[in-house]
Symmetry: C2
C-alpha cells in the first residue's frame, strides 16, 4: 500500500525534472458525447508519457546506483533511460527481439543501451536479472514497485490541484502501476469520485482478477492495439491497491479504442497513442457514466 | 493597406468569440534543429484554423446581412460558417464538386448549406456571385478583403503580447491574407524582425510576383500536399502589403513539407495539417535563418 504522503514526496522529488502537464478539453467533443471531459495530458510529459514519473521517482531514491536496467518495449523504457540521464549513470534496456526498430531507436536516443538479441517473453525477465547481478545495476520494474506507483500518482495529485472534483476518473489498466497511484490520490482527496479502470477485452486480467478476488493470469499476452497494457496479470503490489480503491474495471472492444484515439486527435488536435484512447472508449460503447469525467491520457508516442 | 489600428480593432471585435491560442515549443525539436522555435498554435483555434479570425471580423462589420456566402474548399469555409452562426444568419458555401466528402461534411456540421453540383475552378466565382445577388447574401472573400486581412493579423498581435521579439517569423503564403495581416503587425511592433513567407515550389506565385514586381498568375492550380495554399495568384489588395512588409518568400519541396508536419506531430504532439508544415520546412532544407524564430501554425484539420 502507498499513501498520499508517498505521492506528495514523489511530487517534490520530480518537480525539478519533469513537466506539470495541462488539463485539456474540447467543446465540440463534449457536445458530441454529452459529457464534460477533462483530459490530464501526459502525452505532453517529458519522454511523451507519464511513465517517466514512476521511473524517475524510483531512481532518485536509490542512493547512487552503478546503473539502471529494465525490461520494457514501451514508454517505461524511455522513462528509465531519462532517469539514468538525470542520475548520470549508464542504462541498459532489455527489449523483446521483435519490438519495433522505431521503439529501439527511441530508447537509444535517450542514451540507453538496448539488449535484444534472443530476448523473448519467456527469457526477458531472466536476462534483466542477470544483467543486474553481473553489472550491479538496479532493476526498476515497470509497475510492481511502491516508488513507481507513488510516482505515477503524482499526475493525479496535479489533477486535483488543477480542477474541481469530477464525478469519476477513467484510467487505462495494464500492470496496475498507474491506476494504483492515481486511485490512492483520488480516493483520499475526493472520496466521492468514482475510480474506473479500463482494459481491452482482449486483456482483461485485472477485471477478471477483481471478480475472482485473486490475481488471474491470462494464458497468452493479449493481442490489442493498446500496446501499453499488454501485461498478463496484475502486479503483486498493485493488485491490493486496486482491490481497495478502484470501484470497477470496464473492458472495451478494439474498435472503440481506435475510434477514441481518432476522436481525441480530431477534436483535441493532440497526437495520442492508441492506449491513450482507453479511458474514452467506454463512452463510445454506451457505458453508464456520470456527467463530469477526468480522463488520464497516458502517452503520445505514436506516429501516423 | 491596413494598419495596426485595424488589427487592434479586429482583436477587440473577435475576443468574445474565439480563443487566444497558446505559443508552444519543444526542447527536443529545438535541439534537433539548432534553433529556438516558437509555434503560434492556430490549430487549437475555433474551427481548427486561423481562418475564422478574418471571416468573423468581416462578418461582424456588415451591419446585419441576410446571409453569408463564400467559395472555399478549405478552412475559410468553416470560418464563414462559424461567423454565420455568431450572426444567426444562413450561410451558403460553394465548394468544388471534387472536394472531399469529409470537407463538405465538416462545413455542413457548422450549419452551412454546401452548393457543389457542377462547381469547378472555372465557374466557382461566378456561382458565388449569382447566389450573392439572387439571395442578397454577402460574399466574404477568402483573402482579398481588408477586414479579412486585419482579422488574420490578430494572431500576430497576440503573439507579440505572448513572447519577446524573435529574429524572424515564418508564415505560409497562399492568397496573402494571412501574411499581409501578420506582416503589418510584426513590422510595426518589431521593426527589426524579418518576415519570411513560405510557399510550395509547386505554387510559388507570390515569390515570382515579388521578383517580377507585379502579380504573376500560375498557368494551373498548384499540385501540392499543402492544400491550404493552392491559389494561382496573389490578391490585388494583399500583394501591395506583401511588397511593403515581407522581406522574402522562400519556396520548399513537397517532401520537406511532409517531413515538417511529421516532426511537429512527433515533437510537439500536435495534430497539424500539411499546410502547417510550411513555416518549418525551410529549416529542413538548410535555409539560412537566424536563431530565434516565430512560426505560425495555420491549422489542424487533418486526420491520420
Amino acid at each position: 500500500m502507498i499513501t498520499l504522503e508517498d505521492v506528495r514526496g514523489a511530487a517534490g522529488r520530480l518537480a525539478p525534472h519533469i513537466h506539470r502537464t495541462p488539463v485539456l478539453s474540447s467543446g465540440s467533443l463534449d457536445r458530441l458525447l454529452g459529457r464534460e471531459l477533462l483530459f490530464k495530458s501526459e502525452h505532453l510529459q517529458k519522454t511523451g508519457s507519464f511513465k517517466v514519473r514512476g521511473a524517475l521517482n524510483a531512481a532518485l531514491q536509490l542512493g547512487g546506483p552503478r546503473g539502471l536496467v529494465t525490461l520494457s518495449s514501451g514508454n517505461h523504457a524511455q522513462g528509465v533511460a531519462f532517469a539514468s540521464r538525470v542520475l548520470g549513470v549508464p542504462c541498459v534496456v532489455v527489449m523483446y527481439e521483435d519490438a519495433s526498430e522505431t521503439k529501439k531507436a527511441a530508447v537509444r536516443s535517450y542514451g540507453a543501451v538496448v539488449v535484444d538479441e534472443g530476448v523473448s517473453r519467456l527469457n526477458g525477465e531472466e536476462r534483466v536479472r542477470t544483467i543486474a547481478e553481473e553489472r550491479g545495476f538496479h532493476y526498476i520494474h515497470a509497475y510492481d514497485d511502491p516508488h513507481v506507483m507513488a510516482g505515477q500518482g503524482t499526475q493525479a495529485l496535479e489533477f486535483t490541484e488543477q480542477t474541481g472534483a469530477p464525478d469519476a476518473v477513467l484510467v487505462a489498466v495494464g500492470g496496475g502501476g498507474m491506476i494504483s497511484g492515481i486511485a490512492t490520490v483520488i480516493k483520499t482527496v475526493w472520496p466521492e469520485t468514482r475510480v474506473i479502470g479500463v482494459e481491452p477485452e482482449a486483456g482483461d486480467d485485472t477485471r477478471r482478477s477483481l471478480l475472482a478476488g485473486e490475481r488471474i493470469r491470462l494464458e497468452a499476452p493479449p493481442r490489442t492495439v493498446a500496446d501499453g497494457v499488454q501485461t498478463m496479470m496484475p502486479g503483486a503490489l498493485t493488485f491490493p491497491v486496486v482491490q481497495k480503491h478502484v470501484d470497477e474495471v470496464l473492458a472495451v472492444r478494439e474498435e472503440s479504442i481506435v475510434e477514441a484515439q481518432r476522436l481525441m486527435m480530431r477534436h483535441l488536435k493532440q497526437v495520442v497513442e492508441p492506449t491513450a484512447g482507453l479511458p474514452l472508449a467506454p463512452l463510445l460503447e454506451g457505458a453508464e457514466l456520470p456527467q463530469r469525467l477526468g480522463l488520464f491520457v497516458c502517452g503520445g508516442n505514436w506516429l501516423p
